[in-house]
């Protein structure tokens, strides 16, 4: 029962998790580089042919652009909604605070399938199914607490005296907001916007419920395809997700530091 046995047990379990978490990503990158026609192991050889293939594949490219559009719409809606709500939660004393908080956390407490089905019925009744922007709005509705959380975190760190000082120097409310409050919460705004963007880009279930065959997003297209035959061009397009995810992680690390997720309250 020495420190040695502790290290061995901990590292065995952590090692298993690391392998399990990383294996699918590693395998997809490997499969995308095969020169064979199907995904085999060991690979038939190395080539970038599947990347050339996906550049020419109209349906893959169109689905990717649709996913980008959905993620952009989602982020553009989330920016004002989440920023203002985050600032209010950090800075203002409001009545029914607890109640409003519970209400704004509904997207996390309602299971995704419930939110998706509900939005499908709402958009169906409104005749909005079949267009793409409601998918972006839906992605915003289900992930909004992330944006509010990120902005509130930044706003909490802002010394309220700074805003008072600005007002004291004669800055009216809008100017104070634009030149003091907003720049101070910018790291939170960018963090939240990045989270909203990548989660919308990846969103699968809600997309699946809201799109029809003419407007499939990329995760839905991949899902439909892997149920039939596994081809390496799907691995190549999946690598796009890996690259975007890696970029987002790098930016988040530079901006707020990944360690922020370890902090205790």
């Amino acid at each position: 029962m020495t420190d040695r046995s502790k290290a061995v047990v901990l590292w065995l379990l952590v090692g298993f998790s690391v392998v399990t978490l990383s294996a699918p990503t590693a395998v997809i990158i490997g499969a995308s580089l095969t020169s064979g026609k199907i995904v085999t192991f060991p690979p038939d050889g190395l080539s970038l042919q599947w990347y050339a293939q996906i550049l020419g594949a109209f349906d893959l490219r169109a689905a990717f652009l649709r996913s980008l559009y959905v993620a952009t719409v989602c982020t553009l809606i989330a920016l004002p909604c989440g920023t203002l709500a985050g600032i209010v939660f950090a800075k203002h004393r409001i009545r029914f605070r607890k109640g409003i908080q519970v209400y704004l956390l509904l997207p996390f407490t309602i299971p995704l399938i419930g939110s998706g089905v509900g939005l499908m019925l709402v958009f169906g009744a409104g005749g909005l199914l079949g267009s793409l922007w409601p998918v972006g709005l839906a992605c915003c509705a289900i992930n909004l607490p992330f944006m509010i959380w990120a902005v509130a975190g930044s706003a909490n760190a802002l010394d309220p005296d700074l805003e008072k000082a600005a007002a004291n120097c004669g800055a009216p409310p809008v100017q104070t907001f634009l030149t003091v409050t907003l720049p101070a919460v910018m790291p939170g705004v960018i963090t939240g916007a990045l989270l909203m963007f990548i989660l919308a880009l990846n969103e699968f279930l809600v997309s699946l419920l809201l799109v029809d065959s003419r407007i499939v997003t990329l995760p839905v297209l991949i899902y439909n395809s892997i149920r039939s035959i596994i081809t390496p061009d799907l691995a190549a397009i999946s690598v796009v997700f890996v690259v975007v995810a890696a970029m987002v992680i790098a930016i988040l690390d530079r901006l707020v530091g990944l360690d922020i997720f370890l902090k205790s309250k």
Binding site: L10, L13, V14, S17, V18, L21, P24, T25, I28, A31, T40, F41, C81, G82, L84, A85, I87, V88, K91, H92, K98, I100, Y103, L104, L106, P107, F108, I110, P111, I113, G114, S115, V117, L121, V122, I142, A152, A155, V174, Q175, L201, N202, E203, F204, L205, L208, L209, P219, Y223, I226, S238, F241, V244, A245, I249, D253, D259, F261, L262, K263
Partner: protein, 315 residues
């Protein structure tokens, strides 16, 4: 006039105009209501989900008329009766609940040491690597990850091919219950670690050292000091993992191959295969009640503050 405009730059005039407009739209006497105005966009967007719940509830009360394939006009609870009594749904429900319990247990066993090493390691590089390993799959999305597992676990996948070199196999590793549970554990580890890590950060290192200096070995230190102190995080992680697993769609759909459906898959089938929106809505509502109850308990036990919206702790 020209002299005036150079002394008074354009940006100032724009600011003045904006302030004047703001005063017009929202006069000072409305100031106490400003926070609510600022909250309004978020309340409206979230309101979509509330309207969705109302639509689901309404739809669940209308039975599908088999003759005309339209929802009946009259209200009834028949859909709930079918959802709760049909053996198909009972089996799917049991499979989902049992799966959620098993996945929660295994995920916690794996996530606890991960979070512990993440928090306690002295090496910033190791910590960063562990965080990247954690976040990368989280940001890649479930479908792409499930695709990776198909390549690894397929009949001619990496694992079976490697085993055949050793003269074993091939094994049918995909499209069974265990594959689904394994895929779910992999999906849930990041959530559990992110819920556990702050709870472990809050435990001072000295507390552990004190236990050790009093003669406790590391197992007893974990058993009597670390795990009890980390309980709020454990409970939070367990309930988040439990509800996310219970309501998952993608992993059972891809790794289960159609014969290991969870509740969400059954709901999807009601809407898109049998076109019985009423029954689908009833199942959705039952799942939401089960899921929300679990999350509600979690929030009550560990406090809403865990999710970090609170600015003041004064209320």
């Amino acid at each position: 006039m020209r002299h005036y405009s150079t002394a008074y730059p354009l940006s100032w005039r724009i600011f003045d105009a904006v302030e004047a407009l703001a005063k017009r739209v929202w006069p000072a006497r409305f100031a106490p209501w400003l926070p609510y105005l600022l909250l309004l966009p978020a309340l409206l967007v979230t309101g979509l989900l509330v309207i969705g719940l109302i639509e689901i509830a309404d739809s669940s009360l209308h039975v599908l008329d088999k003759a005309t394939f339209r929802s009946s006009e009259s209200y009834s609870l028949e859909n709930f009766e079918r959802a709760l009594t049909a053996s198909l749904f009972r089996n799917i429900g049991l499979r989902s609940f049992l799966g959620a319990i098993l996945v929660t247990a295994v995920t916690l066993v794996l996530a606890f040491p991960y979070a512990y090493v993440l928090v306690r390691t002295e090496s910033p590089i190791l910590r960063k690597l562990l965080l990247i390993v954690l976040f990368l799959p989280f940001f890649i999305g479930q479908v792409v990850r499930a695709y990776g597992w198909l390549i690894i676990l397929g009949n001619e996948g990496i694992l079976n091919t490697s085993l055949s070199f050793l003269g074993i196999g091939p094994f049918r590793l995909l499209f069974n219950y265990w594959a689904v549970l394994f895929g779910l554990v992999q999906t849930m580890i990041p959530f559990a670690v992110l819920m556990l890590a702050p709870a472990l950060t809050a435990i001072p290192k000295e507390t552990e050292r004190a236990a050790e200096s009093l003669g406790a070995n590391w197992i007893r230190t974990f058993q009597y000091v670390v795990i009890p102190l980390a309980r709020p995080g454990m409970v939070g992680a367990a309930i988040v993992v439990f509800t996310l697993t219970l309501t998952d769609f993608a992993i059972p759909a891809v790794l289960g191959g159609g014969s290991n459906d969870f509740i969400a898959n059954a709901i999807y089938d009601q809407f898109f295969r049998t076109s019985d929106a009423g029954l689908g809505s009833a199942l959705t509502l039952l799942l939401i009640i089960a899921g929300s109850a679990a999350v509600g308990v979690a929030l009550l036990l560990v406090g809403i503050g865990t999710l970090g919206l609170a600015g003041h702790d004064d209320d």
